[in-house]
């Protein structure tokens, strides 16, 4: 209690002094909301001499329309909170009583609300995607660096209650973060890691954030607040916040800036209901795909690991048939054709069925790719046959269309294609039953390792933010030191940006980027009747070696998970390969 008031006194004095000094400047140096809170608490203590018509005069002079009674309310809640925390003995929050706790002044109202409701209810975790409720620690005495921030604010856009109480407190759930001093790369303020990473001892270390980190943190908060506003259909607020994100993003550099820009654009589309034109030239998207293929190891990893599984399944077959759910430029198949050519016992007869979307200009893109592959196969002496199959959606596939022949070993390959079928109900089940009907030796599935298909928009948004931040970070890491950034990098980012737009701005059948995690796909495949096939150590070694070749690729990690391989950036898996077969009893 004493300490709180003392700090308030010092701080309030400093704060209002700062504020008065600040208002004299032409570039309106903004005094943060919490400063006003502190000074109002001080006002309350010294007697409410400033109250006039509800609006605080002192702050009114600075341009804020804040009620002193609200701020007094906040101060009172603080006192209550302090009392409760000091005597908390229950499990999980008893550390509050004994360890030193400092306050985060950037948002008191919402945070206090939360703490109170939490302490009043049982201390169980309310739907938090941020694991713990660690109190962020900023040592009061070291506040000054934070207040040197000269960024200008539209006050309403501040994601916090302190300045503009109409904003719902729940929008500030994102305030709960462990601001550990070991924030990884400067480019991305790390969204809270798994709960195991944050512990009590870390939270008691006072931490001072420098400006760029602070701005980055604020950027993420604003994005989350905007998404929440969109979810609650509060479009006016969302609009203000989205513009604010644009302002904040310019203060960042590198990957974080790009990610924030793409997400802000997508949010803006969602707010204004300007849906992206899906009927884009598929040769353009193929081109972006190629650049992504070249600039990062994800697709190469996918191809190499899937090929290894297919190769092992085809070890003794004389005639093989591969069905590729998304042929694009056919970059996966030269390596497989070559590996088959070098197979002991000689190459089998190789048949490829490539599936692709219809082209707007009626060119037969599939046939062109098939022709190129045929040329290659002929050069290295593998008998090759190609068939292209055009369809709008994989659910339109029929087993009879695929013309499987008796005596040939069939493989089904899907790289980043299967999640699109989740956009329409029943489609994925139909596709899986089609696959089962053609009785493949092996089914290889590569998918993004993220859940972007949750029911709640905000959950999807935050998952996507985390996922694409890691992805952009990895691209940045690989391209580090190259200025101007290569065309590959720019195009890859555009490729990912379009995915972001789809995840955030689209709905219903237009939202095709419905990524799901490996665990979810596993459940789906097992319940559809498939058995998992373990990807062997060969695949793992090849993948590891591939990664070693990438410059700036020290951050990439190959992980094995129950027979499936995942490629990730630092601790975050980003893409997963799995292989499946039909149980022997059924075929």
């Amino acid at each position: 209690m004493k300490r709180n008031h003392k700090a308030t006194l010092e701080f309030g004095g400093g704060g209002s002094g700062y504020g008065v000094g600040g208002s004299g400047n032409s570039s309106s140096v903004v005094v943060k909301g919490e400063c006003s809170t502190m000074s109002s608490a001080k006002a309350k203590m010294w007697g409410e001499e400033h109250e006039a018509g509800g609006m605080d005069e002192l702050l009114g002079a600075l341009g804020y329309k804040v009620r002193s009674s609200d701020m007094a309310d906040v101060a009172q809640k603080l006192e209550e909170l302090e009392m409760v925390m000091g005597t908390a003995q229950e499990d999980g929050i008893s550390h509050l009583a004994c360890d030193t706790v400092h306050y985060d002044p950037t948002d008191l109202y919402g945070w206090v609300q939360r703490m109170l409701t939490e302490l009043n209810n049982s201390p169980n975790d309310p739907t938090e995607f941020f694991g713990n409720h660690q109190i962020p620690n900023i040592d009061f005495e070291n506040q000054s660096p934070v207040f040197n921030d000269d960024s200008e604010y539209d006050l309403r856009a501040i994601p916090g209650m302190a300045a503009y109480p109409q904003i719902e407190p729940d929008s500030e759930s994102s305030q709960k973060r462990v601001r550990s001093s070991s924030v990884g790369s400067d480019s991305i303020p790390v969204l809270p890691p798994s709960p195991s990473a944050s512990n009590v001892s870390e939270s008691t270390r006072p931490v001072v954030l420098d400006d760029s980190q602070e701005a980055g943190v604020r950027l993420v908060h604003t994005l989350m607040a905007c998404a929440e506003a969109v979810q609650q259909n509060n479009l006016k607020l969302a609009d203000a916040l989205v513009k604010h994100v644009g302002v904040l993003a310019t203060s960042q550099a590198g990957a974080m800036r790009k990610v924030a820009t793409y997400f802000a654009q997508a949010l803006a589309r969602r707010i204004y209901r300007i849906y992206p034109d899906e009927a884009l030239d598929s040769s353009f998207s193929d081109m972006l795909h190629m650049h992504f293929y070249e600039s990062s190891p994800y697709l190469k990893f996918a191809h190499f690991t899937a090929n290894q599984a297919i190769l092992e399944a085809f070890a003794t077959a004389n005639r093989v048939h591969v069905i590729d759910f998304g042929l694009k430029q056919g970059m996966q198949w030269p390596a497989l054709i070559q590996a088959l050519a070098l197979r002991s016992g000689g190459p089998p007869k190789f048949r490829l069925t490539g599936i692709g979307p219809p082209q707007p200009d009626n060119t037969d893109a599939l046939q062109q790719v098939g022709w190129k592959l045929a040329q290659l196969a002929e050069t290295i002496g593998v008998q090759f046959e190609f068939r292209g199959y055009v369809c709008n959606s994989l659910a339109d596939l029929d087993p009879t269309h695929l013309e499987t022949r008796p005596g040939e070993a069939v493989a089904v390959n899907s790289v980043l294609e299967l999640h699109r079928t989740l956009a329409r109900p029943g489609a994925v089940e139909k596709v899986l039953s089609t696959i089962k009907a053609i009785k493949p030796q092996i089914v290889t599935i590569v998918e993004q390792e993220a859940n972007h298909n949750g029911l709640v928009f905000l959950d999807r948004f935050s998952e996507a933010l985390h996922y694409y931040s890691s992805l952009f970070d990895s691209l940045e890491g690989s391209a580090a030191g190259l200025t101007p950034p290569s065309q590959d990098l720019i195009m890859s980012e555009l490729y990912l940006g379009r995915q972001i737009c789809n995840v955030v701005a689209c709905e219903e059948s237009e939202r095709v980027e419905r990524h799901e995690t490996l665990a979810q796909w596993r459940t789906r495949m097992v319940s559809a009747g498939f058995d998992p096939v373990r990807l062997g150590s060969n695949a793992f070694k090849q993948a590891s070696m591939l990664l070693a070749l990438f410059a700036g690729g020290e951050g990439y990690r190959v992980e094995e998970s129950n027979g499936c391989l995942m490629l990730g950036w630092h601790t975050r898996p980003l893409i997963a390969t799995s292989a499946w077969k039909i149980p022997a009893t059924e075929s």
């Binding site: 040769s283 193929d286 081109m287 795909h289 190629m290 650049h291 293929y293 070249e294 600039s295 190891p297 190499f304 430029q329 056919g330 970059m331 030269p334 390596a335 054709i337 070559q338 590996a339 050519a341 070098l342 002991s344 000689g346 062109q368 190129k372 592959l373 040329q375 290659l376 050069t379 290295i380 002496g381 890491g477 690989s478 580090a480 030191g481 190259l482 065309q487 590959d488 195009m491 060969n538 070694k541 090849q542 070696m545 591939l546 070693a548 070749l549 990438f550 410059a551 700036g552």
Partner: protein, 151 residues
């Protein structure tokens, strides 16, 4: 005077007349030295540029397991050992050597397979029309091998 005559009668050994010996010697050189050797004279230059067996030896001399005979026709068909070396083996070797700080390491089957796969993809792209915006037909999928290592 007799000694002089004997010396003149003794045939002088001229390496350029003994191409098979020359090739044997050149086979034992490493990549950069081979490049230097190619600058010695026209004969050597022609030899080094055209004799693919030199490059074959260079590519796979450190392979722990002997390669199956089917490899050669495939490599030749895809563009030859010189291209394999310049495009794939040399960058792969140097990149892996950087990461493991071992020179003249022994190649395992996996590295061979990886190099061959990358080589094949590269040849496929050279067939043209790989979908790039500017129609650039140069080997782009191997560019990641050539990018400067982040120091």
């Amino acid at each position: 005077m007799v000694q002089l005559e004997e010396q003149e009668k003794r045939p002088k050994f001229f390496i350029n007349d003994q191409l098979d010996i020359l090739i044997e010697i050149l086979k034992r050189l490493d990549g950069p030295s081979l490049g230097v050797a190619a600058c010695v004279c026209r004969l050597w230059c022609t030899l080094i540029q055209n004799d693919d067996s030199l490059w074959e030896h260079l590519c796979f001399r450190h392979v722990s397991v002997p390669l199956p005979p089917s490899v050669r026709p495939v490599v030749v068909a895809l563009g030859g050992y010189k291209r394999l070396y310049m495009g794939c083996v040399r960058p792969v070797l140097s990149r892996l050597a950087d990461s493991e700080r071992v020179r003249k390491r022994v190649w395992t089957r996996h590295e061979v397979e990886l190099s061959l796969s990358l080589f094949c993809i590269d040849s496929y792209e050279r067939l043209g029309g790989s979908g790039r915006l500017n129609g650039d037909a140069s080997a782009s999928s191997l560019m990641f091998l050539c990018k400067p290592v982040n120091v």
